[in-house]
Amino acid sequence: DTAVSQTPKYLVTQMGNDKSIKCEQNLGHDTMYWYKQDSKKFLKIMFSYNNKELIINETVPNRFSPKSPDKAHLNLHINSLELGDSAVYFCASSQVTREQFFGPGTRLTVL
């Protein structure tokens, strides 16, 4: 049983395109997150939603927009993709301050 799942696992696209990454958790958690991990392996929090409400919104370009249709889903939409957006994007979930459970990651490559 997959706890936190992301689709797609790999995403290769051209500059300027718009793409979405989907995330779902079946753990019943109330908080979900999006992270970006660059080539140097730094994990940077991008967004966090608690019960569908945005609680963390770090400094990321407006081209990135999270959408939470319900507590179990947090999707990430990216407009006008740029070369610098190439990275691995991780979704995670947790129950308030307890440990976060991470998805397998989506490797985004912008050509």
Binding site: F42, I45, I55, V96, R98, E99, Q100
Partner: protein, 108 residues
């Protein structure tokens, strides 16, 4: 926001105990300390979490001194499969910071 500092890398041999220290001088009263393990091409995985003193579970121990300005993850008797990157995270519900990670290399 409590930033964290960890060694970039460490080497060890199978069967040894490994201690990885994370510095977090600006930790806030309501911040927790959490450690994660990450293998290549996988998402980070929770190891242990604590607030103060010592916490032990089936895979690791976490030592936190009284001033809470640092923490030490202790891995007993490491094996080759413990080769991974270990991240320290300090923060609370809506503000937290992942360290840059410590790459542990376990040699036979």
């Amino acid at each position: 926001l409590a930033k964290t500092t960890q060694p970039i890398s460490m080497d060890s041999y199978e069967g040894q105990e490994v201690n990885i220290t994370c510095s977090h001088n600006n930790i806030a009263t309501n911040d927790y300390i959490t450690w994660y393990q990450q293998f290549p091409s996988q998402g980070p995985r929770f190891i242990i979490q604590g607030y103060k003193t010592k916490v032990t579970n089936e895979v690791a121990s976490l030592f936190i001194p009284a001033d809470r300005k640092s923490s030490t993850l202790s891995l007993p008797r490491v094996s080759l499969s413990d080769t991974a990157v270990y991240y320290c995270l300090v923060g609370n519900f809506n503000k937290f910071y992942f360290g840059s990670g410590t790459k542990l290399n376990v040699k036979p």
